[in-house]
Symmetry: C2
Subunit: 313 residues, 2 copies
């Protein structure tokens, strides 16, 4: 039986793999699609330390993958459908069969949250998008709306200015949450406008997006804004439904962890965007992943050592 399964190959999963591989743990990395994770929904990243001026996310994730592969860990494409715990081992049911190991690191990330408004589901892929990097070129010379007020919303709004003729950021509050540097960059963009205190109530269109219905949160006044694209960045939801409540999570499904990234079940650790925490960034996902791999390593060597072994300190 393997020492460790890592679920997910985004920044957290790949960092855990780098550390586990260097500890020479027999490690299998399961990823439902290509390595990279949610960060690939952005074109580039400016705040990962070590890359002044920023780096393309695909290039950065390929570096992570290479660094993990260099340590000898094994990668397998498979989507987890369920997990069970028997005989001191972890068993993962996937699209490619069952995989078992003595310990588990969950780094399965998160996905963009849906707004839940009328027209959103029907028009996804027909003007509604959660990935500017993927879809921006389809909106060359067109008017688009961005929903949200955090870092991600502004980063993507700025990126969309390269293609769209106008970008309107719709935010439900009177102030943005995004880092000031992003607010400055956004304000400096011609063609980028802001609608504060506004919520999107409906996305209109027959086969393609034609307009959005907005409501002013102060006056209650309703209005319609013509557009061809709606990019939604209103937070994330963890990819943890396959766990079926077998680990302690917060009310949104983010996994509760201790300082060593241990979960409520022995031998199971979690890191990255699927855990409950105050900041969702690549660099702290990676830091948590190193800690998770170290904790898994300590967990595995502990019960097996001869009585002569004494932990350091």
């Amino acid at each position: 039986m393997r020492d460790l399964i890592i679920l997910g190959a985004g920044p957290a999963g790949l960092t855990a793999a780098i550390y586990a591989g260097r500890y020479r743990m027999d490690t299998l990395v399961l990823e439902k699609a290509a390595p990279g994770g949610q960060i690939l929904l952005s074109a580039s990243i400016e705040n990962y330390p070590g890359y002044p001026g920023g780096i393309g996310t695909a290039e950065l994730m390929e570096k992570f993958r290479l660094q993990a592969a260099d340590t000898g860990v094994v990668f397998q494409t498979a989507e987890a459908g369920g997990v069970s715990f028997e005989d001191g081992a972890v068993h993962i049911e996937t699209t490619e069969g069952r995989f078992s190991a003595r310990s588990l690191i969950i780094a399965c990330g998160a996905a963009p949250k849906r707004l839940g408004v009328k027209g959103e589901k029907e028009l996804t892929g027909r003007g509604v998008s959660y990935c500017a990097t993927c879809d921006a070129p389809f909106f060359r010379g067109k008017d688009v709306v961005v929903v949200g007020g955090g870092d991600k919303a502004l980063e993507e709004a700025i990126f969309l200015c390269e293609y769209a003729s106008s970008v309107t950021v719709v935010h439900r509050r009177s102030e943005l949450r995004a880092a000031e540097i992003l607010q400055e960059k956004a304000r400096a963009r011609a063609g980028l406008k802001f609608r504060y205190n506004a919520v999107l109530e409906e996305i209109e269109g027959k086969n393609l997006v034609e307009a959005v219905s907005l409501k002013d949160t102060s006056s209650g006044e309703k209005s319609s804004l013509s557009c061809r694209g709606v990019f939604i960045f209103v937070g994330i939801q963890p990819n943890t439904s396959f766990l079926r409540n077998q680990l302690q999570t917060d009310e949104s499904g983010f996994i509760i962890t201790g300082r060593g990234m241990e979960t409520s079940r022995e031998g199971v650790f979690a890191c990255g965007d699927c855990v409950s925490k105050s900041l969702y960034q690549v660099v702290n996902a990676c830091g948590e992943a190193a800690v998770a791999a170290d904790s898994a390593h300590k967990y595995l060597i502990k019960p097996q050592k001869s009585p002569a072994f004494k932990p350091e300190g």
Copy 2:
């Protein structure tokens, strides 16, 4: 008054600076020497995610520094001698005068621990060293001893093989703590030997190191090993004496923090090698630093906002 002072410009301090600068906090970074920190005691780093094949630590730290400087934060060379808290502000007494700010991130790192044996202090710089990167070239063609069994000890022992004619790793336990990949690399080196269950009791020599006295922890037998260099890697001690017990620390002086990297004093945060934790690596120091900067930013905007402001969520 400034928003934030960051003490230290190693990986943690520089990452905190990148984040604080991007939040447009008015930030001063104080560093006693050149930016880079303790990591510069190693020549290269292989496990910082994003650099397959490894990168020189000086090159990596220059990238961090550039990325921080690009955000507009201000750097000042000054060594902190004391800290006080008055009128809701933090005041740092330094070799270059007094600096004040509304919040503080302590990222002052750690320094190599001394063994505390006879001859160690007297022969430091005369054969006793805590930095292979700095001193290895002085031991070309000579016999050296490395004390320790963790990652750092093996990394440096491997590096020393490039210069020394023999490298003997002396470790007090029967097994190494270092990552398996490092143990494999070390065992593959001709000229690298191990002495397990051995403690170093004295470093001998008149003006320069001539030998070390060893004691076998099982048999109690004593022996002498001729050598010209002794490289000591037995852990770290935090650079926190300037705090003079004004923050809660563990018994070794490492600062106790919460999940948001907050310390026992409001408005004061800590990250990196100076905090109490299970793993001391560059990548988790950086992750903690991003969290510390985010927490400082939240702390600063909280009491100042108009009543209309509501935190997200």
